[in-house]
């Protein structure tokens, strides 16, 4: 057990060590890592490093390339990499720890998720807090291979923000469902306050949806802005709109009080509100594109690209952007991006518009339902 409190910098260091340790263990030689850790440099006051998802094209294409043109989400190496990291994590636990961290794949626990503090919604699994330094490194290494570098950085930022809230930045739980690397489907979850990531692996395919990202405060005492562009790109968009486009986008004068889909296991499309992507000027379309890419950039590159391809196939022109509430900064607001296949809810109605809850949902792929 470790009672040490981690600062953001320490979390970063641990993560770097974790990736080194994990890789070294995979190679059977603790002293000789095969590649440098991929932990990005701290971004105390700026947004995280650019994504692994390509950020070309100012305005997203409105004509859909064939879905098959996109890299397959069934990238075998990723599935193997995640399984190996999960195996290392589990094999470095003692019997009791393993029992606490593991559930059957079919257990309802897999779909029981939340973004609030563990004090408010008890989590099951093993918290980083209960792990030894080495075990914690393996847990963070598992997270690192399951998201992109930008996603990993965001996770660390969100965890570091807990220090501002009187919360424990190590109360993030690792829960494994099923047996990593086996023939049967398996999955794992990394979850705590404002962060919920779900991985499902089946037959070499990986699904990494849904995911929840939150930030409070939006600017920490030390100046950390964990979700700056997610908030500001949308504000730039709503304030750039005029006339009928603005009327359509501003679907409610007051903010919604919370994100609509809450912690549902499965979601259906919400009421179709907001302005259509096709009705936006190119510079405004570029902002929609930026928001979407910023969120998808937290997924491993292949999965982010696959999501973009899917979204493109379903038609960017069918995506709607809606905003509720005042548009000035630090006023409670909410926005939604919804397309035929996905829903992004971004709620910033708490604490005077300085507390973000956001969730990316997919109508068919959440929790790997489509993997069969």
């Amino acid at each position: 057990m470790s009672s040490k409190r981690l600062t953001r910098r320490q979390i970063l260091k641990l993560a770097a060590l974790g990736s080194l340790g994990g890789l070294a263990a995979a190679c059977g030689s603790p002293a000789t890592p095969t590649r440098a850790p991929t932990v990005p440099a701290p971004t105390a006051t700026t947004r995280p490093a650019p994504s692994a998802v390509p950020t070309t094209a100012a305005a997203a294409p409105t004509s859909a390339p064939a879905a098959t043109a996109a890299p397959s989400p069934t990238a075998v190496p990723l599935a193997d990499e995640i399984a190996a990291a999960a195996g290392r994590f589990l094999s470095n636990l003692d019997e009791a720890g393993r029992a606490q961290a593991t559930y059957a794949f079919a257990d309802p626990e897999r779909l029981r998720w939340h973004w609030t503090t563990p004090a408010n919604f008890p989590r099951h699994g093993l918290p980083l807090r209960a792990l030894t330094t080495a075990q914690r490194d393996y847990a963070l290494a598992l997270l690192q291979v399951s998201v992109s570098p930008a996603g990993f950085q965001k996770a660390l930022d969100i965890m570091a923000l807990q220090n501002d809230l009187g919360n424990d930045p190590e109360l993030y739980y690792v829960t494994v469902f099923g047996e990593p690397g086996g023939a049967a489907p398996w999955g794992w979850r990394f979850e705590g306050h404002h962060l919920s990531r779900h991985l499902t692996v089946s037959g070499g395919s990986v699904a990494a949806l849904p995911f929840f990202l939150g930030a409070w405060p939006t600017v920490s005492g030390a100046g950390l802005k964990a979700m700056e562009r997610e908030e500001w790109a949308a504000r730039e968009l709503i304030t750039a709109l005029t006339g009928p486009a603005q009327t359509a986008a501003l679907f409610q004068a007051n903010t919604l009080t919370r994100h609509v889909t809450q912690n549902q296991a499965e979601v259906a499309p919400l009421e179709s509100v907001g302005v259509l992507f096709g009705d936006l000027a190119p510079a405004q379309q570029a902002l929609v594109d930026e928001i979407i890419r910023t969120y998808l950039a937290t997924l491993p590159a292949a999965l982010g690209e696959a999501q973009l391809a899917k979204l493109t196939a379903a038609g960017w022109e069918n995506i709607r952007f809606g905003w509720a509430g005042p548009t000035e900064p630090r006023r409670p607001h909410y926005y939604r991006l919804q397309g035929p296949t996905f829903l992004l809810e971004h709620d910033n109605s708490r604490n005077g518009g300085t507390h973000i809850h956001s969730v990316w949902r997919d109508f068919t792929e959440d929790f790997g339902r489509h993997l069969g």
Binding site: P217, V219, G221, R350, G352
Partner: protein, 192 residues
């Protein structure tokens, strides 16, 4: 004099923090936290006056009880004003959502409601007008102070050391009011 200093210190502290960190959001959050902390500290200090006076065999703590309590109430009002007006723009939907979601909020409201009649009847005039009923009414402090601590404890934080210290302190102060403990404490030290 000491009570005035204790009561005004948080204001000086906030002014200093504003100079250090004029960013409106950060300051707003600091107001939320500092006024809550100041209110609780002053209310607990006021609550401690009677038993402390008894132990010390001095009437002086009782003289500052009212001032400390009123300052505590003042900071509670600023705390809630900051919450309802500055943070939530008096949007009732947001406030109701918060009351539903965060159980600590309802407990805080209960503490504040219990304090209202105490503050309103704190003058000597009211004390005389109400007579014996004034004492009965002021037993509401047994709700206000424990509920304020409960509010702190229920803020859904992982680190609650200070809140537990307050909880322990207030429990002791409540025990000190039990008749037999009170009699024990009231005895001159030599006889104890």
């Amino acid at each position: 004099m000491l009570a005035q200093a204790a009561g005004l210190l948080p204001l000086v502290w906030l002014a200093w923090e504003y100079l250090r960190q004029p960013d409106p959001y950060t300051f707003n959050r600091l107001v939320m936290l500092r006024t809550g902390a100041a209110s609780l500290a002053l209310l607990v200090a006021s609550f401690a006056c009677t038993p402390v006076g008894r132990v010390l065999g001095s009437g002086r703590p009782a003289q500052v009880r009212r001032a400390l309590g009123l300052y505590g109430f003042f900071y509670a009002v600023v705390h809630v004003w900051n919450y309802a007006v500055w943070e939530n723009g008096l949007d009732w939907a947001l406030i109701v959502r918060d009351l539903e979601e965060r159980r600590a909020m309802s407990v805080g409201v209960a503490a504040l409601l219990a304090l209202l009649p105490l503050a309103a009847t704190s003058t000597r005039g009211w004390q005389q007008r109400l007579g014996r009923r004034w004492r009965q009414l002021h037993r509401l402090v047994y709700i206000a102070v424990p509920f304020a601590v409960w509010h702190f404890l229920w803020l859904e934080r992982d680190r609650l050391t200070l809140a537990w210290i307050y909880a322990g302190l207030v429990t002791l102060l409540l025990i000190a009011r039990l008749p037999f403990v009170r009699r024990f404490l009231a005895r001159p030290p030599a006889q104890r």
